[in-house]
């Protein structure tokens, strides 16, 4: 029954996105043309990639505020690497970006696991450190388009079957992590650890180690996004994706991922990201002022949280009703 409620929560979110598109259509029909929708999806892909990683971290009752800084640092490193060694193949750069991102995620994970520091404190700290490192590495200078190789810049834009590479990465991540979360022991451990850490410990699961892997995955996805971001915009500097971690957390919250841990799906993270993506792309074209854009995004977050809280309360009532019957 609850499972269906969760499914329906995602259906409601999907309905909200469709409704939103319908409203936009009345004002600006061109927005819902297939080509434009592909453009919107492509534009939202970095958010989708990061939201999936963030979802896994949140499921284990943690939070990763360092994702955007991780993205920026990794992006800067690969951009500088490309500027220095233009002949490095793209595949090597992709692997390097994911590896470096994962490494940065592991730093978060180890601090949470071994030193038991609250995740919000750890990632707030590493967020600042990563940004600082970019400054140290680049000495505050930008890596501009003309310093990057053509292949480096072209990769995320190259299309396969009509979709840009960037979109394909998002689609692949959605499929891969849907399988991981529902069909592997790691995914199961993530849900168990977040659902009830005490019970998970008693079951023989290592709560800290599971959280460590969640941070590592989040970091790897942030690193990958770092390369895609820098190459797509063809520029790397200290402040890229500044404040983007908040969008990522917002996408998760809108997507029904419980901040209390243990509840949430990849589909939810995807839809949450798309919802924000549609708002961000549509509001400017229908001439809504930037102030209202932020207010609407904020309202969506609060509505989503209120909705989740209400869904949990009904669950409580169900238990009581049953218990009353039992006595």
């Amino acid at each position: 029954m609850i499972r269906r409620a969760i499914a329906s929560r995602e259906m409601i979110l999907l309905g909200a996105i469709v409704l939103l598109l319908g409203v936009i259509y009345t004002r600006f029909p061109g927005f819902v043309a297939p080509n434009n929708l592909i453009r919107v999806f492509n534009d939202t892909s970095p958010l989708i990639l990061l939201a999936i990683g963030q979802m896994i971290v949140i499921l284990t009752r943690c939070i990763d505020l360092s994702v955007a800084a991780n993205l920026a640092l990794t992006g800067m490193v690969v951009a500088m690497l490309n500027a220095a060694m233009p002949d490095l193949p793209i595949i090597a750069i992709v692997i390097l970006a994911m590896g470096l991102g994962a490494l940065l995620g592991m730093v978060n994970g180890v601090l949470v696991w071994k030193l038991q520091i609250p995740p919000i404190v750890v990632t707030l700290g590493t967020m600042t450190i990563f940004r600082g490192l970019i400054f140290v590495l680049s000495e505050g200078r930008w890596v501009n388009s003309h310093q990057m190789s053509a292949a480096f810049k072209a990769f995320p834009r190259s299309t396969v079957l009509g979709l840009p590479m960037l979109s394909w990465f998002a689609i692949l991540a959605v499929i891969l992590f849907t399988v991981i979360m529902s069909r592997t022991t790691l995914g199961r451990a993530v849900y168990a650890v977040g659902g009830n850490p005490h019970a998970a410990t008693y079951t023989g699961l290592d709560v800290g180690r599971t959280q460590f892997w969640a941070f590592t995955i989040s970091g790897a996805l942030a690193g990958l996004t770092g390369y895609l971001w820098v190459s797509r915009y063809a520029v790397a500097y200290v402040d890229i994706a500044g404040g983007f971690e908040l969008d990522v957390v917002a996408a998760c919250v809108i997507g029904g991922i419980s901040i209390a841990g243990g509840v949430g799906t990849v589909a939810g993270a995807l839809l949450g990201a798309l919802f924000l993506g549609v708002i961000k792309n549509a509001l400017p074209v229908v001439n809504v002022s930037p102030f209202w854009q932020m207010a609407i995004s904020g309202a969506a977050i609060i509505i989503a949280v209120a909705f989740n809280a209400r869904a949990n309360r009904t669950r409580g009532r169900i238990i009581l009703k049953r218990a009353e019957h039992a006595t």
Binding site: M1, I2, R3, R183, T184, T185, L186, R188, Y191, A192, G195, N196, H198, A199, A200, T201, Y202, T203, G204, L205, D206, G262, V263, R315, I318, I319, L320, R322, A323, E324, A326, T327
Partner: protein
């Protein structure tokens, strides 16, 4: 000030009670915690509330302090029916409680702790710190506590914290003081000081409800007693009219409505031997053996160290000394995962917190510790998982619409079955059940008991930690009695009586008053 006049008539002929419970009933889902109980508290007298674990004592405290609302009956204050809808109501009626774990604020000063919520104000409505400190000092002096009211609570010892709690109780002009196991954490000298304090409170005409497991202190300071058993009122009267034996008999009685399965004792080979197990703070000098097909009961009062011992056996905490032998081989268990690998599983007492993952479906709860068997190369095999879950839920006679339903939607009894099924699915050698039937309904209790008997018959060794005497008597082959972190006795089923159990657990000498 009221004179302390010990009344001669048993049922309150001379003085009327300040506070009384009349026919109070409290029902929780699946359990009747209190059924038509009576309790009378007289001014200037100490009433001891006596009963086994689960008799309903703490429920009464919560009703008296406005945390729970009774489902039937009434509370009478000076003979007038009142209702304590909130803790605030109870406090303003003059009821105050000093709990086992005192609820105070470590980072506030002593004076602030005493006056939190009712601090003296200046004309501007701000807290009058100087007056507060002066008043706090006066109250502290009146109970003989010599401490600086400006010191932070964190810097005080546990005994002094108790004094602060008592001072707080006095500061609100309480007429009824509830002391819930106040001596549990105190040293001998501090207990003496507490007794003196109780005398002072009596002299001030306060009615005191004193909850304790220790018979010596009940007979030392109580004027009256009230006995509860299984949420029912058993009797009350003057303490001078009864002996320890009388009270023990009233406490244990005989539950007639519970039938336990007939069991054949197997006398299997030894599977587990614990030698010289020590923990720096929780238990010491633990030695016992466990055999295949045996149900070994662990009895003791709450806080006797039973659960702590089991957690150490399961690798959650580390003992400082001692050896565990499984099948005569020394094994070191450093984590729950290692315990499971060695064939030891633990069904914890606090099901909600430590056992069930309510946001996961039933089948995923069951397979969680067995994922190594139901997965291949890290990939889950759902068909395998469902087979395992179906197998064990049907053995436990669990009825659920679907194994895909979330565990949180099941009743407490069914959740307990799922938690047990989860551990059985790991095919253990030793299963530790900590309060396996606590808080579940009679029907589910019987099913759990029957299943335990079945497990033992199949050769599994069962350790059952229980505070319910009927359960210990009805199920165990042998009973380990623990008190204050040590094993005081290991009793064979054949010479077990409820009285011996209670005496051993409470530390009453044999034949002291017979």
């Amino acid at each position: 000030m009221q004179a302390v006049a010990p009344p001669t008539a048993p049922e309150g002929a001379r003085t009327d009670p300040i506070l009384a419970l009349d026919g109070v009933t409290k029902i929780f889902p699946g359990v009747k915690a209190l059924s038509d109980v009576a309790l009378r508290l007289y001014p200037g007298q100490v009433t001891a509330l006596v009963g086994e674990n689960g008799a309903g004592k703490s429920t009464v405290v919560k009703i008296l302090t406005g945390i729970y609302q009774p489902d039937g009956g009434q509370i009478l204050l000076d003979g007038q029916p009142v209702s304590f809808a909130t803790a605030q109501d109870a406090a303003s009626a003059g009821v105050t409680a000093i709990h086992q774990e005192t609820v105070l604020f470590d980072d506030l000063s002593v004076a602030e702790n005493i006056y939190l919520g009712h601090a003296p104000r200046t004309r501007l409505g701000l807290i009058d710190t100087r007056a507060m400190i002066a008043k706090a000092a006066k109250i502290l002096a009146s109970i003989g506590a010599h401490m600086d009211p400006t010191v932070r609570l964190r810097d005080l010892g546990i005994a002094n914290k108790h004094l602060v709690a008592i001072a707080r109780a006095l500061s609100v002009d309480a007429r009824i003081v509830i002391m819930d196991e106040p001596t549990a954490a105190l040293s001998h000298k501090e207990i003496q000081e507490l007794y003196d304090l109780v005398e002072k409170l009596k002299a001030q005409g306060k009615a005191i409800l004193f909850i304790s497991h220790k018979f010596d202190e009940i007979f030392r300071i109580a004027d009256r007693y009230t006995v509860f058993r299984d949420g029912q009122f058993i009797g009350d009267g003057l303490i001078t009219d009864v002996t320890e034996s009388d009270l023990v008999k009233m406490m244990v009685g005989r539950a007639v409505d519970q039938i336990f399965p007939d069991r054949q004792r197997l006398g299997g080979t030894e599977i587990l031997r614990v030698v010289g197990y020590d923990h720096p703070t929780e238990f010491a000098d633990i030695n016992f053996t466990l055999h295949r097909g045996e149900i070994l009961g662990f009895y003791g009062l709450v806080g006797a160290g039973r659960s702590e011992l089991m957690q150490a056996l399961f690798g959650i905490t580390r003992p400082s000394k001692g050896v565990v032998r499984i099948d005569d081989k020394v094994r070191v268990i450093r984590s729950p995962a290692e315990a499971v690998a060695q064939g030891i599983v633990y069904v914890p007492e606090d099901r909600g917190k430590q056992g069930a993952i309510t946001s996961l479906p039933i089948f995923q709860n069951i397979t969680l510790p067995s994922l190594r068997r139901t997965s291949r190369n890290g990939f889950l095999r759902l068909a395998e998982e469902f087979r395992l879950a179906r197998d064990y839920t049907s053995r436990l006679d669990l009825r659920a619409a679907s194994l895909d339903t979330e565990l949180g939607t099941l009743s407490g009894g069914n959740q307990q079955k799922v938690v047990i099924a989860k551990w059985l699915a790991t095919r253990p050698k030793v299963i530790i059940l900590d309060e396996p039937t606590k808080g579940i309904d009679i029907g589910s209790k019987a099913a759990v008991h029957e299943f335990m008997a079945e497990l033992a018959a199949q050769g599994l060794a069962v350790i059952m930690v229980s505070s319910e005497i009927p359960e210990i008597l009805g199920m165990s082959d042998r009973v380990v009695v623990m008190r204050e972190g040590r094993i005081v006795d290991i009793l064979d089923h054949d010479n077990l009586t409820p009285e011996t159990l209670v005496r051993r657990a409470a530390g009453i000498e044999d034949g002291a008053d017979q």
